[in-house]
Symmetry: C3
Subunit: 328 residues, 3 copies
């Protein structure tokens, strides 16, 4: 593995191996694998879990992390090629990335979707550009349309919960004040597909995922895949409800149209009565941060179904496994 | 010790033990006590000394620090329970704290007073809520009404200055452009009381401390305790003047009333002529940052009375003693 | 060496020794020279390379870095003496610097020119004030009129490129939307002079350097020194073009006059046709960040002449040599 940009190019057996390394690191967290090594973490977008879990994990492995946050102590970066840079950006990624890479053994980059052009964001072109510019291994710390560190942590969490690889996984839309991109839903959907699960996408009729992502999940190995627009049907025998909000593909790049299309959807807030037909101990998953009583009711987050803290903790262990596999 | 939230719940002998450990660490600063360990530092409010001294001390002990600053690279956090989170805060402390704790061996949190409700701020409810939410040991890096790291450093400084435990300690108000909460005055007052000192609170008639804090200092063991509104009287035989500004309890949560009440108090700026009746080598203490020529004249800060740099350095050693006592 | 504030007070042989240590550290980057040591990095101005390269280098040497960025999680600092601090600055450097120094073994500070008074900025008074206030060794991470870390890295780069010590070095002005101070041109000019090179300063007639800097370069040992206002003449047999923009001394502190004086100078953007008379493999140097197609064309940065990434990487190795020579 030269870079860690997505789970989608890995075989399920290779992912399972990474997950198994993560389990070992969870049991024995301290080692010297990164002694004298430097991991650069470039955040084009804000972060709490990703920042803290990477820095903690790097420290537990004896390494040093270097955090760069353009706009916070560092100028913002130009990403477009061929531009005349007489505006606010004073440095181009064509310099910034190889320079940072020259100081580091591994580079992690977070860079969210522009949300202007759907096809571009689904191609995750900027993250691949970063990988091309970096002579050192690159970790995708969340990109325009992927979040593989989260997906790997989620796989680990499902294993720990003894959810079978062909268990019943519901990816459910929820209301959110802003149109959100497809990074997490795509990562979760791909992960469940690669794991071989029975997948239901639960969302309003207006908020199906882009068709490409549905096709992709089928190709990646979903045991079954369907849409449902009704919680009673969607959650039947579900072992897991994975909650996320996303923009409707029809309204991609058009926040006003999206706001209009979701204005009557505030009841899409996960609550206990959604689980009537689910497995007795079905779990609630979410990648965090989550807006309480907007996407999910307190009763769920504070009750026994929620495994969101376990998911977040598993980011630490999953990422350490990634680092260990990338370091030379 | 499971948490370090205040000095007030510790016996003087236990505090003295911590101070003695700090002295040893000052003499021998480098060890491996925190090797492989991660200390999370969450700053809800800005910091210079606290940030730098914790990071330096953790490094000297072989550990890793992870700094999270909501609003600076990380979104701001919701602290209220039961709220519908459709505003600017995107994550609740009910998730953020246990998640951060899951990455760390010890957590430090700084969170200043809201300055709306006096009783709430004196109860230091939010810091106790943080402690309840964190399964890992918590260090109070300054809260609504306490600053125990500073108080421990100050005790060490008094020891180094050979100020007797029953010496004469003056806590003096000074003018400041803003109404400031009771964290430092309460911490300093409690510390001096626990140390068994003779305490004079020197302030304008309008700016006595909340009565609860006066009572508290008596219960904690002050050898004597009084108010004085006149520097000649207040500083008689004083070994230490500890300077701090605070809001009048009558004006708590009312900045306009406070501004009006202190508009004629700008002469409350510590200067050499205040020390006429004090011990010849009486010292000037302040927790920093300090506004020069507003709270204290250059002649004091640049003269032989000032021990503010020593106090600040002792934050490092005191905090290392706290970390060493909390780490498993 | 007690501080590292400039190359200008060092003998060429001492600089060459530092460069040779940097070469050794480039070959063997990991050691324990800074184990248990703390390096404080105070950024009064933004940074990418300096921050990342210092943190990376400190980590490779087993040490801990502490980063303080006033205005980003820390309040801004007052630098003027004798002022009544009732404005926005809440802490004076007379406290902040010795306090930070008390936590650290070495301190690095970045503090750009005010660009109000030319003589003051050329005297680099604030950086010397910092050195006076710090009882620990101080590293100039770029000041009002110097950037010795960059200069040392550039010397290393010239050595690696086999540019002879008496080779032909062109310091070339380029257009930039803002008036920039003399830190980098002075550092580059001094470095080339100390190295004993033949130096041509290529700039518009309106944009000569301050006469003091020209005299200084002669005294420091330039083999030859001249101005040229024409690329064909300036670059004749050049081995290196070092690009930088700077304000005209006549317009120092007067951005409007400067904007007027450079409004017709946008063609001062380095491009391939400037190199017609240069050595066949003449190199392009720039300290970064650089505005593409403003100061230099893509064709240069993306072509074989550019060594800007090598220069930036050499910051890491040069700074490690400085740290190693300053640590006790």
């Amino acid at each position: 593995m030269n870079d860690f940009l997505t789970l989608r190019t890995l075989k399920p057996s290779a992912i399972q191996e990474l997950v198994d390394v993560a389990k070992e690191l969870k049991a024995n967290p301290i080692n010297d694998v990164l002694k004298g090594k430097v991991i650069g973490l470039l955040f084009m977008n804000p972060s709490l879990r990703t920042l803290a879990s990477f820095q903690a994990g790097i420290g537990q492995m004896g390494g040093t992390s270097v955090v760069i946050q353009p706009g916070t102590g560092t100028w913002t970066l130009e990403t477009r090629d061929g531009v005349i840079m007489d505006g606010t950006e004073v440095e181009h990624i064509r310099e910034a990335i190889p320079v940072l890479a020259s100081y580091c053994d591994i580079l992690g980059i977070r860079s969210f979707a522009n949300q202007t052009n759907l096809a571009e964001d689904l191609a995750d072109g900027l993250m691949h550009k970063f990988a091309d510019l970096s002579p050192k291994p690159l970790i995708n710390m969340e990109s325009a349309s992927d979040h593989p560190c989260q997906a790997l942590a989620d796989w680990l969490t499902l294993d720990e919960l003894n959810v079978p690889t062909n268990g019943n996984f519901v990816l459910s839309w929820a209301w959110h004040p802003k149109p959100l991109p497809y990074a997490v839903p795509r990562a979760a959907l791909s992960m469940a597909a690669l794991r071989g699960m029975n997948i239901t996408i639960h969302c309003p009729e207006t908020h199906k995922l882009p068709e490409e992502l549905y096709q992709e999940a089928q190709k990646l190995g979903a045991n079954s895949l369907r849409y449902s627009h009704n919680p009673t049907e969607a959650l039947e025998n579900a072992q897991v409800l994975y909650c996320k909000s996303w923009v409707s593909p029809q309204n991609y790049g058009n926040p006003d149209a999206e706001a209009e299309s979701r204005k009557d959807l505030r009841e899409w807030c996960v609550r206990e009565d959604w689980f009537k037909t689910a497995d007795h101990d079905a779990k609630f998953m979410h990648c965090l941060p989550v807006r309480r009583n907007v996407k999910v009711a307190d009763e769920i987050l504070d009750g026994p179904r929620s495994v969101v803290i376990q998911q977040a903790e598993n980011r630490l262990h999953a990422q350490k496994a990634i680092l260990q596999s990338l370091i030379k």
